[in-house]
């Protein structure tokens, strides 16, 4: 079949669909490649660079991000060559200096032998966000409301609500919170309201008419109800009691 190709990963041969991304092929076979900005429900973005591998094709070897590199016949991949490991270590070193107290980053950095960042402690920051863009990408591609976006450029680039105020288009679904790989989104349900602090969101929670649990933001349910043309009282009862 002309649509299947054979690729070699770490010395072993595997079948792949032509054009399938190397990261997917690797995962299917249980080969672990670290990622931060990858998520199964959105298009690959290639921002964190952690998924880099060494790819040899047509006599040429180069470092590529496996999340976006298409499989082709005869492709040879090394996921943990010295060159790859060296680069990943520096990438994590850089992230560590930025997120010097973040648990996820610290763990990843430790895996690559970093006890502390190599850079001057005077310049360490305590960010949690690694600007992987998943919150914005999920909001746009999965939820479809594009309430937030990556704003500014360079070191100040980051996800934000328009004008850094309350994100008007947000429905409070929390997809951003669930997608974030480093726990940078602060969300909690408290006193009948859902708070997503990063986007200055405070939305009333729907109370179940049967069990009384406050289970989802009203705004989110309204959005779903309108989108799928559901009856007015569809969400009056929570899923547990339906």
């Amino acid at each position: 079949m002309s649509d299947t190709v054979t690729v070699t990963i770490n010395g072993n041969k595997y079948s792949a669909a032509k054009g399938e991304y190397v990261l997917q092929v690797a995962r299917r076979h249980g080969i672990r490649i670290p990622t931060l900005c990858d998520h199964q429900n959105v298009e690959p973005y290639g921002a964190c660079r952690l998924c880099i591998v060494e790819a040899t094709s047509g006599g040429r070897t180069r470092i590529v991000t496996s999340c976006l590199y298409p499989a082709e016949e005869g492709l040879i991949i090394e996921t943990d060559s010295p060159r790859v490991v060296r680069n990943r270590k520096m990438l994590l070193d850089l992230l560590y200096a930025r997120c010097s107290e973040n648990r996820v980053i610290k763990e990843l950095a430790a895996e690559y032998g970093l006890e502390k960042p190599s850079f001057d402690p005077e310049y360490w920051t305590t960010e949690d966000c690694v600007v992987c863009g998943l919150c914005c990408r999920v909001c746009e591609q999965v939820v479809g409301v594009s309430a937030i976006s990556l704003v500014n450029r360079g070191i100040t680039k980051g996800p934000a609500a328009p004008y850094l105020e309350s994100a008007q288009a947000c429905i409070g679904c929390g997809s951003c919170y669930y997608a974030c790989p480093t726990g940078a989104i602060r969300m909690e349900d408290k006193n009948g309201y859902r708070y997503i602090y990063n986007w200055n969101i405070k939305y009333k929670l729907q109370k179940c008419k049967v069990c009384g649990i406050e289970w989802a933001p009203v705004k989110q349910l309204e959005y779903i109800r309108k989108k799928w043309n559901l009856p007015e009282d569809f969400f009056d009862v929570c899923p547990n009691d339906r």
Partner: protein
């Protein structure tokens, strides 16, 4: 303002791919990007506010803050740097009592650095509105500003 914005959007056939051009035209009219203008664009063209906001913060040409009557562009390109361009910026910051990117209290001047205007032979270069000043030295800064201060 609504008519003005609609006219600009119409000029570009409401084409979403022309968003950057649309924002540039808006800035040409108002000297910055007023928030209400951006909201109108978002609404009229059915583009998420977050996307319009992202564009206006990404491109250095755009200002979300009101700018001064006269825009002072100081070039920090390599050729100008090699001839002391940064010292001219320092001098301007001192004379105007503002930092790069800011506007004077009397709203007369906005100071913006630019990364190359294409007059490299005459560096260091400063451009105020449409007028170019070449071979700048610190002592030329005050007389140059005075031209635009309403006194000679």
């Amino acid at each position: 303002m609504k008519d003005q914005i609609n006219a600009i959007i119409k000029k570009y056939d409401s084409d979403k791919s022309q968003l950057v051009s649309i924002l540039q035209d808006i800035q040409s009219v108002y000297n910055y990007l007023p928030r209400s203008a951006l909201d109108k664009v978002s609404k009229k063209m059915n583009v998420p506010r977050s996307q319009v906001y992202a564009l206006s913060t990404f491109f250095r040409a755009f200002s979300l803050k009101e700018r001064g009557k006269h825009i002072v562009h100081v070039c920090l390109g390599t050729a100008c740097h090699v001839r002391g361009g940064e010292l001219i910026l320092d001098s301007l910051e001192r004379q105007l009592d503002i930092k790069n990117g800011e506007t004077t209290k009397d709203k007369n001047f906005t100071l913006e650095s630019v990364n190359c205007m294409g007059c490299c032979a005459t560096g260091p270069v400063v451009k105020i509105d449409e007028e170019y000043f070449g071979h700048m030295t610190n002592d030329k800064v005050e007389p140059m500003l005075n031209k635009y201060r309403g006194k000679q």
